[in-house]
Symmetry: C3
Subunit: 419 residues, 3 copies
């Protein structure tokens, strides 16, 4: 279809992936065993949280990026592939990096839950390179990003003495900037014409694909309280996290919808704003959801997150598209990046306000600022390295003319049926 | 984009909504606090029920009305907006109205769950004004209807001495007739031609939108047992509610599908019947689901609900459309109104049969009839008032020519891509 | 719409179905009662499992087969109808066949859960006759297949002394071969031209329907661990089942995606492969998921299942289509049949390896081989009988020219809007 010399992943993909799977199977065979502790009172709760995470990862993040007219199949299926691969590697890596390590990694329900969360960082970043990476590149990206995020979490645990919940706090910031720098690398060498071409009708909206994206948004919206609360142990912190996430999401939904209308000269709403900005509240409240003790703080955070997300999409996107030449078709920066930074700052402010007067306040503030900066820096640097890695010719990346096009990856029955 | 003088909500919507949000944040700041009771054994169960409700409200009711070819985006997104706004107000109102009130409203998981249920009454009513109300009107409607339904519930608790579950019983009847009278007000002043125009191809069926509506129906169908059982405390009543709802839904599905074929001269099924009537069983059994002690009663109710729902859609819709001039595009009357009335009557009959011979039977029957009539009357009256309120020019309602059209509300990329 | 002499189910369907429902209501009235045991610690867990099963059955299996351009409505709605009917009959049958039976069948949450699982066998088989059976035929098929599967389960319990979980093991093998032989019967008498016609553009892919099918696949994928683990009692077996299913699914997803690319001369992926083969891992691990004590075995099974499923779809489909003349549009054989057989064999191998050296090993192996063969044989024979039953003229089957066409079953507004 089209080019006489298509770049085919026919040999490359099965070779890489099956070798990788064989290696995984060998490592699992020699270094892992199942958890056989007899009693597990929280089995049901942990399983529910795992299911909620899986729904968010496979369905929510999959369909969130399915709004492109000609890229729906790839969005959803590539997302599932990346998730399945990322989780396997994340379980192994978490086991090896966790202390103490006694020759065998014990696989628990909670470790699969944690691994699903780590793999979600890859899925968020994959939204930034959407439509421009093939499956081999996504597999490479999954391996590198899970490793880099594992390193971040290990540093958090060892240096900053954080628990599981806190070490996951900056996942949105890390994943968003990882994705953005990767995307910058991928598109930096393209000729101007190719970029124009890509901007064409392929990234247009259409009704059904947008409804699928809305479905993804809704699943993320509905299960975000689980995402923010699942790793907390104390029932009161868990409850607070659910309350605050719920309120922040409600306010950011209302804010985003009305501010989106303010942006258009006829008061019309932009559908991409709705897909992205309604989630900003949940992201912004993520870091501090267990600490906030009154709904109004969560509501203010939700309001700010909605404003920042939509304001960023309007003001920064010009700068990003034309100056930095980063394409961010699915708005990763405005859904996860900026609200994540807001969440990081608000956490620092809250900690300082709570502990004001205590002797250790300054040190705590320094530590928390350091943790946020570390996530940001690691995201930028490892994303840049991954981007350069993904540009290697051996991965047989799709041509720019085939960007955002299912036909580059999928077998269509003799004549493609549009949509 | 048609008119040279479009009615834009550009200033109106953000002004109203952000002021409202600011007011909410202030009220929440001064009058609410989170529940901090240390132990909560039912945390997991309550959270699951809250999630089930959120899925029904955001996804089920959102997609249920997404079957119109050109109104899919609005159906889903406006539904989410209304839900997010309605829940905030319902939590506050429930807290202020509940006895005893000690200066501070304590926010529990169960109060958010109850508020989600109250907000669902708005979502049901919004189905009746579907395609004819803009976001400002929906926000006004949410505030008024949550308040009116709060008044109904307060009366039930104070006068009729009902518990939380019983006070929610007549939500379907209230919401359906509230919506229908609002819709009547909105359309009553339109010229004949405008109505004809609205009846045109915009309300036609198309495959994908109908599948989305089926998705919404399925989510409501699957989680209806949670809806009917979540507010019950005794495990046995909870189980009975689940059983009865399950059976009533199964029978109404089978009945609706086959009776729909009977209605067509070639035995073809109507897709709107399926969207609506399969749910009628769950609505009809709502009032008495905890009392019915044998599956066959629930099954008979499901059968009757299916028959009434489809019969009503065929016989009454002519009367409604042409005589009363109420447009009910999403069949709120046949999904929630008529089966809700059936449920109310069946509850009275069951109570009387159970207590026959006891001295207080007559009084109980009177009380229950009074409760049902009160919900119906409040729905009709407050719906009428809301309808007149919504007709005010300050809300900048869309023109009749733009009814049922996403283009009136949404920014489309230079050329609209049909579906 | 086409034929001047259409075969209408206008009288046939309501007559059959309402009579059946009336019979069900009578049987339920006289022979069943609700479970009223006061304490039920596992209520929440059982209800969650029931909900997960319902989601898999109504949503997952419904949308899995919705990828045909002109058959989406029928796929989803007929699936719901068959489920609602099948569950009612399965609850009754399970009650009557279970020992001891004391005049009254006690309906528990767990019996509805089991009945939903039995009804899923019908939904799987219905995928094989997809687009060629009307609602009356599906109702007949539901009654016969639930009965036949009940007989298989009774034999398993009585003769092979299996528990509930084990007796459900071979559901995929039974259902797949039941469906295939029924489909063979249905199409065996068609003239060659009719078959060609059916192969035309109606079975083509289109974007939105395929995304709906992906949605179904994802729901099955996400909840498959519940399917495999719900009937197990010991917490450790339950956990193992979840782990193994999760790993098998992850590996079969990765394998299927990459091997599908290997099959195409340009390295493009086939979307039907993705719909089907990603689930093969869950099917293959079903029989032995509670026994496998190390993830690598589950991963190897997932890998093999992915290979077999895609290999079968390429190599066997030619033989099936042209020699045996079995049409299997939704790939039931490759999703459920072959992986189910793989699962059965792997269970036997695992049992033998575990018990090697013990005196009873040979007998156990014989018993397990017997159980698998019995499921296969019963599926083939009862499917054949059902197929002949479905060919009777009294069911008013749709004409071959109307196969795979929603217009044969659904009322379209004067002009059909394609998709």
């Amino acid at each position: 279809m089209g080019s006489n010399y298509p770049r085919s992943v026919r040999c490359c993909l099965p070779l890489c992936v099956l070798t990788l799977e064989a290696a995984f199977i060998l490592i699992f065979a020699f270094f892992t065993s199942y958890d056989t502790s007899p009693k597990d009172k929280k089995l049901l709760g942990t399983y529910q949280a795992l299911q909620d995470f899986t729904i968010m990862a496979a369905l929510g993040l999959g369909f969130l990026t399915s709004y492109l007219r000609r890229h729906g199949w790839s969005s959803v299926a590539f997302n599932l592939f990346t998730l399945a691969l990322g989780v396997q590697w994340a379980v192994l890596l978490d086991g090896f990096l966790s202390q103490p390590f006694h020759g065998k990694v014990t696989i628990k329900l909670s470790s699969i839950r944690l691994a699903t969360m780590s793999a979600m960082s890859v899925l968020i970043s994959a939204g930034a390179v959407l439509g421009r990476a093939n499956l081999v590149q996504l597999a490479v990206m999954a391996l590198v990003e899970v490793t880099a995020f594992g390193a971040v979490r290990l540093t958090y645990k060892q240096v900053f003495k954080m628990d599981d919940h806190r070490s996951m706090t900056h996942i949105h910031v890390f994943a968003a900037y990882f994705g953005l720098t990767s995307a910058w690398c991928l598109s930096s060498s393209l000729p101007k014409e190719a970029k124009k071409e890509v901007q064409a009708e392929k990234v247009q909206m259409a009704t059904s694909p947008s409804l699928f994206a809305m479905l993804g948004t809704l699943f993320l919206w509905m299960f975000w309280p689980s995402f923010n609360s699942a790793l907390l142990d104390l029932p009161n912190e868990k409850k607070n996290a659910v309350f605050n996430t719920y309120y922040a999401l409600a306010v950011s939904t209302v804010t985003a919808t009305s501010v989106s209308a303010l942006n258009h000269h006829q008061g019309k709403i932009n559908v991409t704003d709705i897909h992205n900005a309604v989630l900003a509240g949940g992201v912004a409240v993520g870091a501090s959801c267990h600490l906030i003790s009154s709904p109004w703080i969560a509501m203010v955070l939700g309001l700010l997150a909605g404003l920042i997300s939509i304001g960023g999409a309007r003001c920064l996107s010009v700068c990003f598209n034309h100056v930095l030449e980063i394409q961010d078709p699915s708005g990763v920066h405005y859904t996860f990046g900026l609200p994540g930074l807001l969440g990081g700052f608000s956490y620092i402010v809250l900690i300082v306000l709570e502990a004001s007067g205590n002797p250790g306040t300054g040190f705590m503030m320094l530590m928390d600022t350091g943790a946020l900066s570390f996530a940001l820096a690691m995201g930028l640097v490892s994303g840049l390295l991954t981007g350069f890695l993904l540009k290697l010719k051996i991965w047989k990346a799709p041509r720019a003319a085939k960007y955002f096009d299912d036909q580059a990856f999928w077998e269509f029955p003799h004549l493609a049926v549009g949509f």
